[in-house]
Symmetry: C2
Subunit: 338 residues, 2 copies
DNA sequence: TTGTAAGCGTTATCAG
DNA sequence: CTGATAACGCTTACAA
């Protein structure tokens, strides 16, 4: 069926070893034979079977990546970043979606091992003990991106933005702008990196400023528009004294919150300042433009990929955890009270 | 290094054939041996090497997908759709980005063939003769998504939304709403499916309504915000008589146009109606909410994947071209003049 | 510089 | 039901 190295060898009147040599330029071959072989290869559109190659060389030039949802802009950018470094080095990426379900993640770990991937980039939602242990058993290096392992004692290579610091900085920014009543409208509490960690940063900033943390100023849901809307509603209804600013867990949440506030005729930023998170494409599309904390997921992908490359090369000195910088972006949904 | 079927066989005291049988449940094995083998497999975390399997069975359970840019929401959704059907059937997807560069696309075609993919989903930008010919030479079926082949005479399996009809309907919608001066602000003219085809639909609708097509009412650039901004500027500056409505090639273009109009104090939709294209996530985030023509890229991915599945199963009756429906979404950037 | 032959880790055929 | 053994398509000593 498909043309093999043997077909080429026969037609070119050489041994398969010679053909292999010209393909891989691994050993000198006389110009004459080389040309003849190339010609036959060209003519037959021969492509070496990489399965056979990989079987013997142990090199598949393939890495895996697991994300919850590729249609989510965050993971789209992340994947692009990863791809940019691997494609360039001749690696191919097998992309898997897990919907954030542990079951699927576990299964994918196995499938990818069967495929003999040389490394894995993993963006989970809840990187718990089970997962970490299973990753340990695989015989390829893995680096976590976007999410860190829940159990701190288990060291796994990770590239991530500092969620505590990022949220801390967001709140600090508001504080510096004269705000004191700052509410938090974030992601799920069971989301270790993007949920839990960020509340920690929120609280830390408040505490350092000597401001009491009020439970009624904290609302958590998922990262959706609807959750933003409902969360803001809750904040609005349950506080006689409204916050003057709210930090959110994502730009989408922020937009949902803004929608609710609009409905209630609350002016932004005059009555309430809103801070997004991520710096999504649409942050400058909405009016007023959204102040936010920018995370470069593309860069995060690049860094994670680079770390994985090191690990794949057997490096033992790759840092366990690397942070990708974030940046407070002041636009028009936040007001300076000073 | 990695544990092989032979290790398992030895430790379980059976032949490798038996191990293979219990792994694949391909032939009956006595309960006793079966259990013993499973136990050893479990204990050693054995995973069969799919390279070796594929080499002999000719089944890799792998398909390829080539998109210009995975961080682009359109391709994110498309990929998710594709993934949803293949993941379920135990297939794995290798994802490649081409940046829309012919050079890279050609190269990827080859790499994917070496990887022994069983099929390919291709989302190009300019699917020209060279490309089609090269795809023909590969020994896996391919279906085009999102873009059709430029040269009509070359039949390639394609799943796409009807760009001519979609833009025709958008203009028709505006016409029905009493608009007569309708401008077109679209994608690049060298983009066959999303550029060229859409202008055709635009012109067709106008002509059918007996309205003259004015060149000064047509602006083309890429699909970016900036292009939308600049295109609208051009339209604005080069026409003493402004259009009452403009159809665009993407929601992003629309937003760029709106920005320019805002700057010029032109009211939307009172002075000018704007029609987006795609129905992006942010279409309802901006105010007024964007009227647009909705394309479900997720569905497009699903359909394309299904067609590819058929082809991979050797079906010969798969339709050459299948259209995914579009839908006019009226929101608030378009005004009814009647 | 070239060819022969021994694997790589599986599956599949054929005896038993 | 079970076990040898020949492929699968390629790389890589080892010889020549």
């Amino acid at each position: 069926m498909a043309v093999t190295i043997e077909d080429i060898a026969r037609e070119a009147g050489v041994s398969i070893a010679t053909v292999s040599r010209v393909i891989n330029k691994t050993k000198p071959v006389s110009a004459e034979l080389r040309d003849r072989v190339y010609e036959v290869i060209e003519k037959n559109h021969f492509k070496p079977n990489s399965l056979a190659q990989g079987l013997i060389t142990k090199k598949t030039n393939t890495i895996g990546i697991i994300v919850p949802d590729i249609s989510n802009a965050v993971f789209g950018k992340l994947t692009k970043g990863i791809n940019s470094v691997f494609a360039q080095e001749g690696y191919t990426v097998v992309l898997c979606e897990s919907q954030g379900e542990l079951e699927k993640e576990l299964k994918l770990l196995g499938i990818l091992e069967e495929k003999q991937i040389e490394g894995l980039l993993f963006a989970g939602v809840d990187v718990n003990h089970t997962l970490v242990e299973r990753m340990r058993k695989r015989n390829y290096p893995v680096v976590l991106v976007t999410q860190e392992a829940s159990e701190d004692e288990e060291a796994v290579h990770t590239v991530i933005h500092n969620n505590v610091e990022a949220m801390y900085d967001a709140v600090k920014f508001l504080l510096d702008n004269g705000h004191e009543r700052i509410a938090y409208l974030g992601g799920p509490k069971n989301d270790f990196s993007s949920g839990k960690k960020r509340v920690i940063g929120y609280k830390k900033a408040l505490e350092e400023a000597g401001i009491e943390v009020k439970d009624s100023y904290i609302a958590q849901g998922d990262f959706s528009f609807e959750a933003g809307y409902q969360g803001m509603k809750k904040l609005y209804e349950e506080n006689s004294k409204l916050p003057t600013a709210v930090v959110t867990g994502s730009d989408v949440i922020a937009v949902g919150a803004i929608q609710y506030l609009d409905n209630m005729r609350v002016k932004i930023p005059d009555d309430i300042s809103i801070m997004g998170f991520d710096d999504s494409e649409f942050a400058t599309y909405i009016k007023p433009e959204l102040s936010t904390v920018r995370i470069s997921y593309y860069d995060e992908g690049v860094k994670a990929a680079e770390m994985l490359r090191e690990l794949m090369d057997g490096s033992t000195e790759a840092p366990m955890k690397e942070y990708v910088p974030h940046k407070i972006i002041r636009r028009s949904t936040t007001k300076n009270l000073n």
